[in-house]
Subunit: 415 residues, 2 copies
Amino acid sequence: MKAEIITIGDEILIGQIVDTNSAFIAKELNKIGVSVCQITSIQDEKKHILITLKEAEARADIIIITGGLGPTKDDITKHTICEYFNDTLVQNDAVLAHITELFKNSEHKILTKTNVQQALMPSKAIVLHNENGTAAGMYFNKGNKAFISLPGVPYEMEALIKDKVIPKLVSEYDTPHIYHKTVITQGVAESVLAEQISEWEDDLPEFIRLAYLPSLGIVKLRLSAIGVDKKKIEAAVANEIEGLLSQIKDVVIGFDEDSPEIAIANLLIEKKQTLAVAESCTGGIIASSITQNEGVSAFFKGAVVTYHTSSKSGILDIDQRIIQEYSVVSEAVVKAMVLSVKNKFDSDYAIATTGNAGPKKGDAAAEIGTVFIAIATPEKVVVEEFNFGKNRFKVIQRAKNKALQLLRKEILNAK
Amino acid sequence: MKAEIITIGDEILIGQIVDTNSAFIAKELNKIGVSVCQITSIQDEKKHILITLKEAEARADIIIITGGLGPTKDDITKHTICEYFNDTLVQNDAVLAHITELFKNSEHKILTKTNVQQALMPSKAIVLHNENGTAAGMYFNKGNKAFISLPGVPYEMEALIKDKVIPKLVSEYDTPHIYHKTVITQGVAESVLAEQISEWEDDLPEFIRLAYLPSLGIVKLRLSAIGVDKKKIEAAVANEIEGLLSQIKDVVIGFDEDSPEIAIANLLIEKKQTLAVAESCTGGIIASSITQNEGVSAFFKGAVVTYHTSSKSGILDIDQRIIQEYSVVSEAVVKAMVLSVKNKFDSDYAIATTGNAGPKKGDAAAEIGTVFIAIATPEKVVVEEFNFGKNRFKVIQRAKNKALQLLRKEILNAK
């Protein structure tokens, strides 16, 4: 079974928004054994939409379209799909009742003319009820092919995919099995890793593919297997991963959706130990990336973001003389920060960062990209100095990843 | 001039990564008057790549390909492009010298066989030097069309686009002018906004298009104009925006790349006033979204993330009895938090949040999605209670946006 995703919206083609919908849809389709062979982004333009629908129909069995279902004049997907299926719009009472209800409970209250028009649906479509918004989804059968049109607002689309589209596809089609397993490594370069596991890679069976996905200090190794026997291919992948782990266990921090944050969470929850963070140049990203995941109150006590130099002495009681003598970006200051935050939050472990993320030099003499990271454990403090380059975003992200990597190392060493 | 972007990589088609490269490239091409008519994502598969190149060549003048240039075995773009142009690979000494140099300065040091192979380049390609990585870019001329192949690693691709590709395209082609201007609104629903400006929208001249981009409390209105006379279309757009602002000035927080964070930064820097933040359920995202932007040390003092209930009394000295009497998710606690953080950081304004982002109920009895937001100004404290739904990610993001919106309102009122 092959699928294609078509995302409609000028905002994607001019680069104003990033298309995150396709990744979500592709992931969900993969889970039920449907592989996505192409993702196509096109403008809100009737002719282009019609051509793309035709091309996709020639290549794929399932065509999923997102975007262009809003209440405003630039949203033309519904009318265009109507034309493609030679259909007409009729008022759907259930959709109208839902829209009316939504507005009654919203802070806006006023049901507008354009909202009422959203209750017009193509007569041949099976309507997919959208609990989270005013634009309903549509499902069309054409021969043995399925066309599905969904709103582009991510959380509305996501709920429709999970609750309506996937169950419907599972009930209508019979598909082979696709299985992905990803091994997450941290702290080793892609090319070095590739050399290290080259023989293992060469010996992989034909039906298992390997892909390397590097990003800012993390390399993901994804094994993908395809076959008819679900248990057999999963066992084969598990077997290969066992072989892989015997060679690179040290650098593996987790699997699949794991991240450095989740690896830390798992370790600390298991050990019943706690963490606090003092951030300067990273500006709160360590705390916010940890708290993106649920259940972290079990180990995460909290953080201070001492962004302004004055707040380092004010909030963390760091001696002004240390800052004056060593400068705010220094081993002495990061060490004082980590000890102070560990003490104030009464945690077992602590992270502190101070540095210059750029693009301009700040209060300190330190080069742009210089970051000091300190880890406090129940026994000691370790400090390392890095230079993460000149790109502000990259410096902040890499500092965050490196801090979590160093923390993980210390927790494992303490075991 | 029309362009197409082709992104190559199984990881996009299985939804493991989101294609952020296309948005970046599209934005840069737009600036020089090249419009992107299609973005196509396909797998690392020779046949599919060859077909897609041919289709794109039939439709577009400029074809930009990213991905598949890495050192590992799943990266087949270079060989496939070679086949498309009936070309052969030859060693490029400048690329080899650069790769050797890169490894000398890296933490890994070891130059591997696979890295050396990255110095093999198609003989017909103009090599685009990649300062940030081992995979060089390639530029091919075919008739009056350009094919450009770039690595998929975002920051490597970005530097190549800005420093090499755009200057080369500008020197080789003559293009019409495309101009985008975006008006950012906050706190009003898309459909309400659409009704409000309906007449204005209907009166827009033919060559100006309007698009609505809603996301979590923010609606962007993008005006796009195309024409030959740069000054004329820019003036026409400016004129239309003037008319728009006369109707919706209250809800406009900025333009183009502005965000609620930047709107706050501009206001506080202008007023020479400062901000501190106390975050509970938002976990540091207010601080980290503010500090993503450069130059914020001019007004941002810092933050505390009192994630664990105990840290609210520990770090912010909040009376345990208040927490016990009113619960940790309450007006009384958020008020105490905002006053404490304002005092501790000695700031003019402060934000505090406490709530339950879900998916499980935490220490408090509050419903999932309940968030209290407090704003402290030099004169007073205002508190509002919200429910942002059941999706953890959405609750956190919407709380962040709403907090910044409330702060902006208070700063403007104080003027």
